[in-house]
Symmetry: C2
Subunit: 380 residues, 2 copies
């Protein structure tokens, strides 16, 4: 994997990420294909909106259909039909948010999965083994993410474990044998440290001890406020390495993305575009539009003026599909939202390349209204 | 509306149906857009597979969002974004199959709707008034459909009411005022008569007393056997008018379509492609493929060799999506099935035009295996 920085404007950066499955311009939003497929959106539709890179969830895929089966069916690209760049997470976050009866030790995490309660053990070695079988272009180190309300001692303990598990993740990634691994997959370490500046910097230092091709910020969008999230980005911006892609995990709303790009982030993933789409919410430059509301029942206008699968449809029609419980309504909004996110990244990149990012960001902030910002966050 | 007969081969016919919203080659399969949208399939996807004509359900649309609201939002074409030919049914069949507390009188049908139990009355005048507001290219007369196990006297009574309601449907269709009506919408009468040859012929004679632009066969795919359905088609083929499109309502499986085209039918509608798709069934030339079955879990082959949204996906991946409860699985199979139906109609038309329909039909029959034929029928 190669990362080229093409332009910067203030702290904001425009780049190009080149992987074995093609290049993606940055800043880039990764659509989430939890079980291999984007929820409600086909690969063809994702290609049509220009989606550049997708993310698959190691925890979900390891449970169903199992990493060995994905490998026997040709790996995650062949399996899902997605031909472009792809990233898999480590599975750690899902173990912490979905699994039951977790027991964390230095060895790894023992847990009961959320489907049939079967007992499993996830370790750095096992996570990297699964990610190697899946075969994404970018793989993630196995880390421990503290809850957003963890006390300082707990965050320090997570940092220590994250550093130790990173070394084991790297060893597993570098290990020869089989397909994938260091020869074909880029490994990103994850910075933890909660809402403590010094612990964030310490975790970053742990990560930078190894010369890895990217860097990720974890432990955000886990329940902290918008202001706390911005604060961490402000601390991190001056100390993050300039020569590699910076990935902010699990973030966020359109406003989150603009604020993070303004602070030098290059790569994002979030379930919001498809999840909120299923819940009847369309993202626009004016904020989330809740199409189930009665005010849209006879509204003949399209969602907004931009071209999308929904651009020849009225808000009234989308309201009708949502109220009638037709899955098509959520599908159309998921597609609209992914297209909206895709265009938002492209607009930011264009603004950065022409040295107008701060103007763009200011205009965006002043137009974007979120009637309940916290409802939108913490949904990574 | 105009119908041109282009070629015939035995009883099978190839034609062209021209409506205010474009032409559609026949034999034509109408995909069912119950509430205005094809279930799980966008208008763009329907256009990409070459879908020619769709059907909207008057009963469902009258309940939600209401015909007046559809009209205020520009009519059913504008409302749904579908730009091609469109047909609406009369709502009668849904009243008989879905509504509760039905009281049928010569005036019409009083019932409680299946959503909130509200009392409504559907009459020929009201059905045509709603269909005029919806604004489809083809509208249907309001008829009474006997249950498949009705006794002869009950079928005769349905015939009498269907004939009387046809006259009132025509009067409402011809009435001046407002948009739509006879000037812009083609009205088809419906032939009832159950499984009795003489009653079918009598109902056809009732319908042919009026010079209407098409003719429909109703009261099939309501629970009768495949052989009974074929029997009625065999009776009707020699007596149906040659100069107008013949529409077999609510039918059917791919094999049903081949047998009906062999007996001179031009137009069909059925929920099977999308409903069975949602249930994990893909139609192929070899019969329905039940992709949830364990035998497909590691099957790396695509559904079949034809191009479709699913053609770069393995059966194993589709099996995984279905087993994991991902709606995307049903969406992909719905799209595959609509594409399969579309191509099947095109292949039949090509065979008719080249005088090879009987060879095509014989090959199709010998290749198509349906492990439970009756399960597939009666799903109009």
């Amino acid at each position: 994997m190669r990362f080229s920085l093409i332009a910067s404007d203030g702290l904001a950066r425009a780049g190009l990420l080149t992987t074995p499955h093609g290049s993606v311009p940055t800043p880039a939003f990764m659509a989430v294909a939890t079980l291999g497929g984007l929820k409600g959106v086909t690969v063809q539709q994702a290609e049509e909106i220009g989606q550049g890179i997708v993310l698959g969830n190691t925890y979900h895929l390891a449970l169903r259909p199992g990493a060995e089966r994905v490998r026997r069916l040709g790996g995650l690209h062949r399996f899902t039909g997605w031909r472009g760049p792809m990233l898999t997470d480590s599975g750690g976050y899902q173990v912490f948010s979905l699994a039951r009866n977790r027991t964390i030790s230095d060895a790894g995490v023992r847990f009961r999965n959320h489907l049939d309660g079967g007992e499993l053990m996830l370790t750095p070695e096992e996570s990297l083994r699964i990610q190697r079988l899946l075969g994404a272009d970018i793989v993630m180190a196995f880390d421990e993410c503290p809850p957003h309300d963890a006390d300082r001692a707990a965050v320090e303990a997570c940092n220590r474990r994250t550093a130790a598990w990173l070394e084991r993740s790297i060893a597993a990634w570098r290990a020869p044998g089989g397909i994938g691994g260091a020869a074909e997959q880029a490994l990103y370490p994850i910075v933890q440290g909660g809402l403590h500046r010094d612990l964030r910097e310490a975790s970053l230092a742990d990560a930078m001890r190894h010369d890895l091709p990217g860097i990720a910020l974890g432990g955000l969008a886990v329940g902290e406020s918008f202001a706390e999230r911005i604060q961490v980005l402000d601390w991190m911006a001056p100390v993050l390495p300039a020569d590699r892609p910076r990935y902010l995990m699990g973030v966020g709303t359109p406003l989150d993305l603009v604020e993070a790009v303004a602070r030098g982030i290059d790569q994002f993933d979030c379930v919001l575009p498809t999840r909120m789409g299923r819940h009847g919410i369309a993202y626009t430059d004016n904020g989330p539009m809740r199409l189930k509301r009665a005010e849209y029942a006879e509204d003949a206008a399209p969602i907004d003026a931009t071209p999308s699968a929904a651009s020849r449809l009225s808000r009234g029609y989308l309201h009708h599909l949502l109220k009638a419980g037709e899955h098509l309504g959520g599908q159309l909004l998921s597609l609209h939202n992914l297209g909206y996110y895709r265009r938002l990244m492209a607009r930011m990149r264009c603004a950065i390349r022409s040295g107008r990012f701060s103007v763009f960001a200011e205009q965006f902030r002043s137009g974007y209204r979120n009637d309940s910002p916290e409802e939108m966050a913490g949904d990574g």
